[in-house]
């Protein structure tokens, strides 16, 4: 048990490194105009999704908003398929038809990538509804930002989930800003988690810069839900180092604030924990980081040499053929 837990943590650290190096490459490729549209980076928030995924079973459902690259990667979508999607190539995880904000991977139960703020929260309730309808003990993890909690769809989904006791965890990745508007200017509550109380949903606050805390807290919540289906709410406090999207210089916050969070970097923190406990050497860490960089660079090469989606398939995905038996 001890052995596998150690391995898992090292593996999850490697995943956090991959996410960061992937995002850095994506940023570079965006600036080189290889990637179009909007591109929202996750750098700084890596412990949230890796911690959450570490607490799940592979058949649990994951759904998120538009800052979604990390969620796909953490779920097992290859860096190649992710980068190719950013490049709009047919080898992408959504065949180049979704783009940065619409990553999907059915095989790994990653249910998107949704770009209208708050609009996927009812979808999460529906996925959880289906699990309960089929008497499965699968849990749905629904990620969204602090900007989503003032949308009607969010509130309606929480009410329905509580009413129907659906097995869904609402995970608010509170990075303090909805685009450029701070939580203080958007939300009447002192703390976001109190939204859950209004729907009689149990809520927790978790330090999102601490992988272990995220994993352990979510493991507890998931265990409770599997025992007896119910919704839960977790406010995970985190920080994005970059702007809202690639085009945002983030001038609405101070350098000091950014520095404060950088000092608490989730990768550095888990590395230090593992090193202190003699579960990881500096050499091993450097090796892992090197591999992450190589994987990210290889994904760019893969995306570059991949084909565009064929023009003649333009109408192939508007409707699916056939009917139920």
């Amino acid at each position: 048990m001890q052995q596998s837990e150690q391995r898992d943590e090292v593996e999850m650290l490697a995943m956090m490194l991959l996410i960061r190096r992937f995002e850095e490459r994506a940023s570079q490729q965006y600036q080189a105009q290889k990637i179009g549209g909007f591109c929202h980076l996750y750098i700084g928030q890596e412990a949230v999704v890796t911690g959450a995924v570490a607490a799940t079973r592979p058949d649990d459902y994951i759904i998120t908003a538009y800052r979604d690259h990390a969620h796909a990667l953490a779920r097992g979508t290859s860096a190649d398929a992710c980068m190719a999607e950013l490049f709009g190539k047919v080898t992408g995880c959504s065949r180049g038809l979704g783009g940065s904000m619409h990553f999907f991977d059915r095989k790994n139960h990653m249910y998107g990538g949704h770009a209208i703020v708050g609009a996927h929260v009812p979808l999460a309730a529906g996925i959880a509804f289906a699990a309960k309808y089929r008497k499965e003990d699968r849990v749905t993890l629904c990620f969204f930002g602090d900007g989503a909690i003032n949308q009607g769809s969010f509130h309606e989904a929480l009410n329905l989930s509580a009413l129907f006791r659906l097995p869904v965890i609402f995970i608010c990745e509170n990075n303090l800003f909805a685009m450029g508007t701070s939580v203080k200017r958007s939300t009447s509550l002192k703390q976001i988690v109190d939204r859950a109380e209004g729907y009689d949903i149990p809520g927790e606050i978790v330090d999102g810069m601490n992988f272990r805390e995220v994993r352990d807290k979510l493991s507890e919540v998931i265990e409770s839900i599997r025992k007896d289906s119910h919704p839960a709410f977790v406010e995970i406090r985190t920080y994005r180092y970059r702007g809202h999207s690639m085009s945002d210089p983030a001038s609405y916050r101070t350098k000091d604030e950014l520095e404060k969070f950088r000092l608490d970097d989730p990768i550095t923190r888990l590395r230090a924990q593992l090193t202190r406990e003699e579960k990881l050497t500096n050499e091993q860490f450097d090796q892992m980081d090197k591999r992450a960089k190589e994987t990210a660079l290889a994904s760019v090469k893969f995306a570059e040499r991949s084909a565009e989606p064929p023009l003649e398939n333009l109408y192939n995905y508007t409707y699916v053929n056939g009917a139920s038996a």
Binding site: G113, G126, F129, Y317
Partner: protein, 327 residues
């Protein structure tokens, strides 16, 4: 053939599909314990229980989205809107999530969901409760939209919609729930394909293209017109999207004159689309300009006399037919 009401026909369709496939369930406001605001789901809770017939709070955006999420993992929800005027509260879910998912996911997630309920102006319900929504929804690639006008079409189209692997919107006529008509007996499977129009009355002088509320209106107008020696073909679209373009062109090629009778508003309307396609493809077949009758282009007034003035009517239709026939 036996005669049943439009309401009973829909009720049979629901019961048969819920019985047939355990993935199918009905969800909406007042569908279970209240037996449906218009009694379309009468008796279904007793028969199938609360896991299949599910009451929701007044929360259209929430439960429409919940249905779409359930459909992502393979359930086949039937979501009832108490009226399609209320579906506008769920517009983002119906327009942004349901029809886009297949494309956005590169073909990984189809959404086999049915949205159904009464649509179109009823009687003196005022501006907010009188919307015909077919133009709005037919505009969206990825959605299918059908508009049954008879009990038989209601049953056959709804059953097909539930089995379709795409999001389908079934727009029922609030004013028709008590209309009776012939429908095959329950032991005969009745499925009517989406995108297949039906000629409700054959005629050779003019084609009246209609759907939903304008179908009985057109049939009545056609009877009156026979007295004037005009033999009108009443062409019921039944589905707005997919559109049975081939059948439209065939009928018009036979009659050479067209009036399009719409229950929706005229601007950017279904009639504009059909008129465009006719002139584009069979311009030389036309012996007269295509005319349209639709609602007046205003929010619906409450006052009965004004409401009547806004709505399409048999009189307006007859006048238009006379004009295209130079009668």
């Amino acid at each position: 053939m036996r005669e049943i009401t439009y309401r009973q026909a829909l009720n049979e369709a629901l019961a048969e599909e819920i019985e047939r496939d355990s993935n199918v369930f009905l969800m909406g406001e007042e569908v279970a314990e209240y037996n449906g605001a218009y009694k379309v789901s009468q008796g279904l809770l007793d028969r199938f229980g609360p896991t299949r017939i599910i009451d929701t709070p007044i929360s259209e955006n929430g439960f429409a989205g919940l249905g779409i999420g359930a459909a992502m993992v393979g359930l086949r929800p039937i979501v009832e809107f108490m009226t399609f005027s209320f579906s506008l509260v769920a517009f983002d879910q119906i327009v942004n999530n349901a029809p886009n998912m297949l494309t956005m996911s590169g073909g990984q997630f189809n959404i086999p969901i049915t949205f159904r309920g009464p649509n179109g102006p009823a009687h003196q319900l005022g501006a907010t409760h009188s919307h015909a929504t077919e133009c709005l929804y037919a505009n969206i690639p990825g959605l299918k939209v059908c508009t049954p006008a008879t009990p038989r079409d209601a049953k056959g189209l709804l059953k097909t919609a539930v089995r379709d692997n795409n999001p389908v919107i079934v727009l029922e006529c609030e004013l028709f729930y008590s209309h009776k008509g012939p429908v095959e007996p329950p032991d005969e499977e009745l499925l009517i394909p989406l995108g297949e129009a039906e000629i409700k009355r054959e005629g050779g002088d003019v084609t009246i293209i209609c759907y939903a509320q304008t179908v009985p209106m057109a049939l009545a107008a056609a009877e009156t017109l026979t007295e004037e020696g005009i033999n009108a073909e009443v062409f019921d679209l039944r589905s707005i999207r997919p559109l049975d373009e081939r059948a439209v062109l065939e009928s018009v090629s036979k009659t050479h004159r067209v009036v399009i009778a719409e229950q929706d508003r005229p601007f950017c309307g279904i009639g504009s689309e059909i008129a465009y396609r006719i002139q584009n493809q069979i311009f030389d077949e036309l012996d007269a300009s295509i005319l349209r009758i639709a609602q007046e282009d205003v929010p619906m007034p409450y006052n009965e006399r004004l409401e009547k003035a806004v709505l399409p009517s048999a009189d307006k239709l007859i006048a238009a037919v006379r004009k295209v026939c130079y009668a």
